[in-house]
């Protein structure tokens, strides 16, 4: 198999900002994303229902440069006031050229 090494950026963020985050990661060059609904707990307490605000778990396969830009954007716009967690890892992707 012809696999391409890419970055998988995973962002867990409160649902109220997930649409905005998705818009911004697309502007930064992500060609796609996958979202799953999530519950969670962190420094800002439990997030497990409509009222506490659910979380969204956003994943995007991108090249190194775009991954850097996304993390930078999150740190600037969202980390101060919103419940957000983000991490990055290396994955090997089928037909990976599609995503950079």
């Amino acid at each position: 198999m012809d696999l391409k090494l890419l970055k998988l950026v995973t962002i867990v963020a409160e649902a109220v900002i997930s649409d905005k985050i998705v818009r911004e990661i697309k502007e930064l060059g992500a060609t796609g994303y996958t979202i799953t609904a999530a519950e969670g707990q962190g420094s800002r307490g439990v997030r497990a229902s409509e009222w506490e605000g659910k979380n969204m778990r956003i994943e995007t396969l991108v090249g190194e440069a775009v991954s850097e830009a996304i993390l930078q954007m999150l740190a600037t716009h969202y980390f101060p006031n919103y419940a957000v967690v983000a991490y990055v890892e290396d994955v090997r992707v089928v037909r990976g050229d599609k995503y950079v």
């Binding site: 409160e14 109220v16 229902s49 409509e50 009222w51 506490e52 605000g53 659910k54």
Partner: protein, 320 residues
């Protein structure tokens, strides 16, 4: 009937008891879970049903009867966030964003408290104006905008007002309420008959189910009472009573019936927890959700549900 008897009568309704059953379920850490999707489905149903029925009644009432109450409702919805903000800043010493956030919630309204009031009036067989849902819709938005304007005037940084306005006006409660009103108005009593068995007949039961869920949510917030502190707890009880009495008074003054005045009082007294939290979280992220959600959801909402509604009613009877 004395106020105490009214409170008792109110407490013994299935709708109010369902709320306390929900609280109890959370307090005993039951595994009872109302799926979020059911909550969403019920809220779509309730908002649309309020709108539809209101629209049908609006079509049947003359516009002249409606204008003065509408003006009164608008005035209340504009004044309440102003003085609430001042009190929260000066007396409570809260930060600008926290004070503005809470002011937005208390100036806006709670559709579920509104419904519980109609249920209470029905049980007492007291009539009320058909156009009241229109007042609910009128009072939902202005306070949120006013509070956000205050906050932005006192905070550095710029807001994209287009986005904020869109967030509020295209919010689901406004779309369903106004949409329902428009549809109800357009189809009239005759056209409405076909959907009445779904949107009217089972209504109170659906409300009871919804309040079961609300009780669970409110109880989950109870541990936050300590974080809110004594000032906010007092605020969340004293201000509704104040707003409730003012609302009844204004209602009486603009020519509403006994039932209508009670409802205007309840609308003034109630705090939003559907439209306001979403708008505030997006536009005032610096405000702490613990403060505005705990006061509106865990204190003011149960207080109005259990004690406020009969209280404002007793006051309305007293001054009429």
């Amino acid at each position: 009937m004395g106020t105490l008897e009214l409170i008792q009568l109110n407490l013994l309704s299935p709708v109010v008891l369902a709320f306390f059953l929900g609280m109890l379920a959370t307090l005993v850490r039951s595994d009872l879970k109302i799926p979020d999707e059911l909550y969403q489905a019920l809220s779509v149903y309730l908002l649309l049903a309020i709108g539809l029925k209101g629209g049908v009644e609006l079509a049947a009432s003359s516009p002249g009867d409606f204008l003065l109450p509408a003006a009164g409702a608008l005035a209340l919805a504009s004044a309440i966030p102003l003085w609430s903000y001042i009190i929260l800043r000066k007396v409570g010493r809260l930060s600008v964003p926290d004070a503005a956030a809470i002011a937005a919630h208390y100036g806006s309204v709670s559709a579920v408290t509104f419904l519980a009031t109609l249920a209470f009036l029905s049980a007492l067989e007291i009539p009320y104006e058909g156009f009241l849902p229109a007042l609910l819709a009128i009072m939902e938005v202005p306070a949120i905008i006013i509070a956000l304007v205050i906050a932005r005037a006192n905070l550095p940084g710029r807001t994209s007002w287009g986005e904020v306005l869109h967030e509020i006006l295209a919010g689901k409660s406004i779309v369903l309420l106004l949409g329902g009103l428009a549809i109800g108005y357009a189809v009239g009593r005759e056209g409405f008959a076909a959907v009445e068995p779904f949107f009217v007949t089972p209504f109170h039961g659906v409300l009871a189910l919804f309040l079961l869920e609300m009780g669970m949510v409110a109880a989950q917030r109870l541990p936050d009472l300590r974080k809110a502190g004594p000032f906010l707890v007092a605020f969340a009880i004293v201000m509704p009573v104040l707003h409730g009495l003012i609302g009844v008074f204004v209602g009486n003054w603009v020519g509403l019936s006994l039932g209508g005045s009670v409802v205007l009082g309840v609308l003034s007294a109630s705090a939003s927890y559907i439209a306001a939290p979403a708008a505030v979280r997006l536009s005032l992220p610096e405000a702490n959700p613990t403060f505005y959600l705990t006061t509106s959801l865990a204190i003011t909402f149960p207080f109005n549900l259990a004690v406020g509604i009969p209280l404002y009613y007793a006051f309305a009877k007293f001054i009429l």
